[in-house]
Amino acid sequence: MRAYLEIFRTTIAEYLVYRLSFVLWRVRTVITLLVRYYLWLAIFEKTPVIFGYTESHMLTYILLSSVISHLVLSTKTADVAGEIVGGKIINYILKPVSFFKYQIAKDLADKFLNISFAVFEIAILIFLLKPPLFLQTDITMYIYMIYFVIIGLIISFFINISLSFIGFWTPEVWGPRFIFFMLILFFSGTYFPLDILPTPLYYATFLTPFPYFFFLPSRIYLGLPPNHLVVFAIFGAVWVFISYYATKQLWLKGVRQFSFFGR
C-alpha cells in the first residue's frame, strides 16, 4: 500500500514541476465550460422552459456535469500507449508492483488534482456569474448519484487503458482515442443533456458506455424516477463487467505477444 501512496505522491509532485502546463490545461477547461454556459444562457433569454428544462435546471446540469466529467474522465492511462509503443512498459512489468494498481494510483492523483481545481473554478464562476442553481433536497438522489459516479469512474478507467493497449498491435494509437473523445463530446452529454434527444435515440445511448460517465450522475441530481434508476443501475453494472473483461483480455493478449528492441 505504501508503494502506491508513494506513486500517488510522486504523480502530484510531477504535476507541480510542470505547473504552467497544468494551469494552461485548466484554462482550457474553463474556456470550453464558458461556451456551453453562455450558449444555454442565450437560449433561455426568450424561453422559460426548453426540452423540459428550466434555466436553473439546465445551468445546474452544465456546471455539475463539468465537475463530474473532470473527476471521471481525467486520466494518466493515455500515457500507457506511448510507453507500449516506445517499449518503456517493460520497466513497469518487471517491477514488483501490480501494473494495474500502479496505473490506478497515478489516475487517482490525476483525478485528485483535477477535481480540486475544477471545484475551485466552478466556485469562482458561480460567485462571478451568479447563475440560478437547483438544489436537490432528496437524499436518495445523492446516493444514486454517488453510485453512478463510481460506475463512471470504473468504466472510464477500463476503457481509457484499453484504448492505450491498442499500442500492442499498432503505433497509431491516437486515432481511436480521438474518436472516443468525439463520441464523449456528444453521447456523454457535454453540450446538452441526452434526454433532449428523440426518445428512442436517448434510450439507445444507454446501450453504450457514454451516458454513465457524467450525464447520468448529473441528471440524477436533478431528479429521475426510481424505476428508471434501477434499470440504469443494472445496465451500468453490466458495462463495468464488459469493460473489465475486455481490458483483461486485451492486456493478456497484448503482453503475450509484446516484444521490443532494447537500448
Binding site: 504552467l20 502546463s21 494552461l24 490545461w25 484554462v27 482550457r28 474556456i31 470550453t32 464558458l34 461556451v35 453562455y38 450558449l39 444562457l41 442565450a42 437560449i43 433569454e45 426568450k46 424561453t47 426548453i50 426540452f51 499498432t170 497509431e172 491516437w174 486515432g175 481511436p176 480521438f178 474518436i179 473523445f181 468525439m182 463520441l183 463530446l185 456528444f186 453540450y191 446538452f192 433532449i196
Partner: protein, 263 residues
C-alpha cells in the same frame, strides 16, 4: 518576383514531404477524418435541433446560425490545413533542431509555420465549402456586396489566424511550451462556433477586440446578413493588421531571446 517563386517552390516541396509522411499512417488518416466528420455532424445536428426548437438564437434564424457555424469551420479548417507544423514546433525547440532551421537560406516561417500542410483537413474543406454555398444560396437578403465583404472578412480572419500561430511560435521559443498554448488558441477560437452575441460583457469585448475571435468568426457572417457597419468592417482590418504586427514583434523578440535549448 523570383524570390516569391523560390519560396513557393520550397513550400511545395515541404508540402510534398508532408503528404508522404501522412500516407505512412493510413489507419490514422481514416480514424482522424472519421472523428472530424462525427464532430462536425454532431454539432450541426445539435445547432439545428436547438435553434429550430427556439426559432431564434439572439435574433438569428436557424439558417443564419448554421452559416456562423460553417464559417467557423472554414476558417478553422483552413488554418489547421496550413499551420499544422506549429503543433510540432516544440520538438524543434527542445532538441535544438531549430538552430538548423534558422541558419537555412529561407525564411523560417516556410518551415515552422507552413512547412507541414495537413491534407487531412483538405478532405473536409470541400464539403464545408459546398455546404456554406448551399446555405448562403437558400438565405434571403444577401447581396453581391455583402457576399464580397463576407469573403474579404473570411480572408481577414485567416490573416488573424496567421498572427495567432506566429504568437504561439514565439511563445514556444520563450517558454518551450507549445502544446497547451496552441490548444488554448483552438479553444478560444471555438467560442466562435456560435454568434459572438451569446457572450455577455466584458467577455464579448475581450473576445472581439483583445483576442479577436469575434472578428475572425462572427464578423464575416454578420456582414453577410448586412448587420455589420462600414466602421465595423474597417475596424476588423485595423485589428487584424495590429494583431499581426504585434505577433511579428513578439516573434523577433523571441528570436533575440533564443539560446538554443537543446543539444
Amino acid at each position: 518576383m523570383s524570390n516569391s517563386i523560390r519560396n513557393l517552390k520550397i513550400f511545395l516541396l515541404f508540402s510534398k514531404y508532408s503528404i508522404k509522411s501522412l500516407l505512412q499512417e493510413r489507419l490514422g488518416i481514416v480514424l482522424f477524418t472519421l472523428g472530424k466528420i462525427i464532430r462536425f455532424a454532431m454539432f450541426f445536428f445539435f445547432i439545428y435541433i436547438l435553434v429550430a426548437k427556439t426559432s431564434t438564437l439572439k435574433g438569428y434564424t436557424t439558417n443564419q446560425v448554421i452559416i456562423f457555424y460553417l464559417s467557423f469551420n472554414l476558417v478553422d479548417t483552413l488554418s489547421q490545413l496550413l499551420f499544422r507544423e506549429v503543433y510540432r514546433f516544440r520538438e524543434l525547440v527542445v532538441t535544438g533542431e531549430l538552430d538548423g532551421v534558422l541558419i537555412k537560406p529561407y525564411h523560417p516561417f516556410l518551415r515552422v509555420l507552413v512547412g507541414g500542410v495537413d491534407f487531412l483537413d483538405a478532405i473536409l474543406l470541400g464539403p464545408y465549402i459546398a455546404l456554406t454555398v448551399y446555405f448562403i444560396s437558400i438565405s434571403t437578403g444577401i447581396t453581391l456586396t455583402s457576399l464580397f465583404t463576407y469573403i474579404l472578412l473570411l480572408m481577414n480572419a485567416l490573416a488573424i489566424t496567421v498572427g495567432f500561430h506566429i504568437a504561439v511560435l514565439a511563445l514556444g521559443i520563450v517558454t518551450t511550451n507549445v502544446d497547451h498554448s496552441i490548444m488554448i488558441y483552438r479553444d478560444v477560437t471555438s467560442l466562435g462556433r456560435f454568434p459572438i452575441e451569446i457572450y455577455r460583457e466584458p467577455l464579448r469585448w475581450i473576445f472581439t477586440f483583445l483576442l479577436p475571435v469575434g472578428i475572425m468568426m462572427s464578423f464575416p457572417s454578420q456582414s453577410l446578413f448586412g448587420l455589420l457597419s462600414i466602421q465595423g468592417i474597417i475596424s476588423a482590418f485595423v485589428v487584424s493588421t495590429g494583431f499581426i504586427t504585434c505577433s511579428l514583434f513578439f516573434w523577433r523578440y523571441a528570436l533575440r531571446k533564443y539560446q538554443s535549448w537543446g543539444g
